[in-house]
Subunit: 116 residues, 2 copies
């Protein structure tokens, strides 16, 4: 297979102090990204699966956000300690992690009941 089987985009956006919308990272660096990469590598997923840095995914109120294509599965409020479960369940097992999913009705909205 030449194309990526799954392409995972991890928001790295950082906004200036006091900006009206929140940031996905504090300083453009993301332990979540590093952990996803590390677990994906450990699972032997490269090069079919790529963990990618991305700019603002425009779901700032639900960040840190991650989107997995071509599935178009969105995760919200993801923490570094969630990385292993995303890799093992979704990227290896093909089962999106229900507890971390951003509900469809939350995407492109400013508020969302997801994880409080």
């Amino acid at each position: 297979m030449a194309l990526f089987e799954r392409h995972v985009f991890v928001c790295q956006n950082v906004r200036p102090e006091g900006a009206p919308r929140p940031s996905c990272t504090r300083d453009g660096k993301s332990e979540l990204f590093a952990q996803l990469q590390m677990f994906a590598k450990a699972a032997g997923l490269a090069p079919q699966v790529r963990i990618n840095k991305s700019g603002c995914l425009d779901q700032c109120e639900h960040g840190p956000t991650v989107v997995v294509y071509p599935d178009a599965v969105w995760y919200g409020h993801v923490q570094a300690e969630d990385a292993e479960e995303i890799v093992n369940e979704h990227l290896v097992g093909g089962r999106p992690v229900a507890r971390l999913r951003l509900a469809d009705e939350c995407v492109n909205t400013k508020s969302c009941p997801h994880r409080g």
Copy 2:
């Protein structure tokens, strides 16, 4: 529709001078990104279509690269002056731009006959 109908990732990666692999942008800024955003906005595509900055898409030898999900259509060697055609043909018209497409067999390879 809550999710993005199309999500366009535009590589903004920049490597240090003398790096063994080429960069998609010279300084992390991309006229291609700005033009895609401008034409998408002019076509009234937001918020169903998002033009997104991305980190390295790992297709450096074919850059600047753009990938459109969930279609998983890859474009290579894309210039700012190609933005209008990508927006009008692909994002509005649903017809990927054949002359800019990265052939499936080029993805994840270091050389590719695409556009020389």
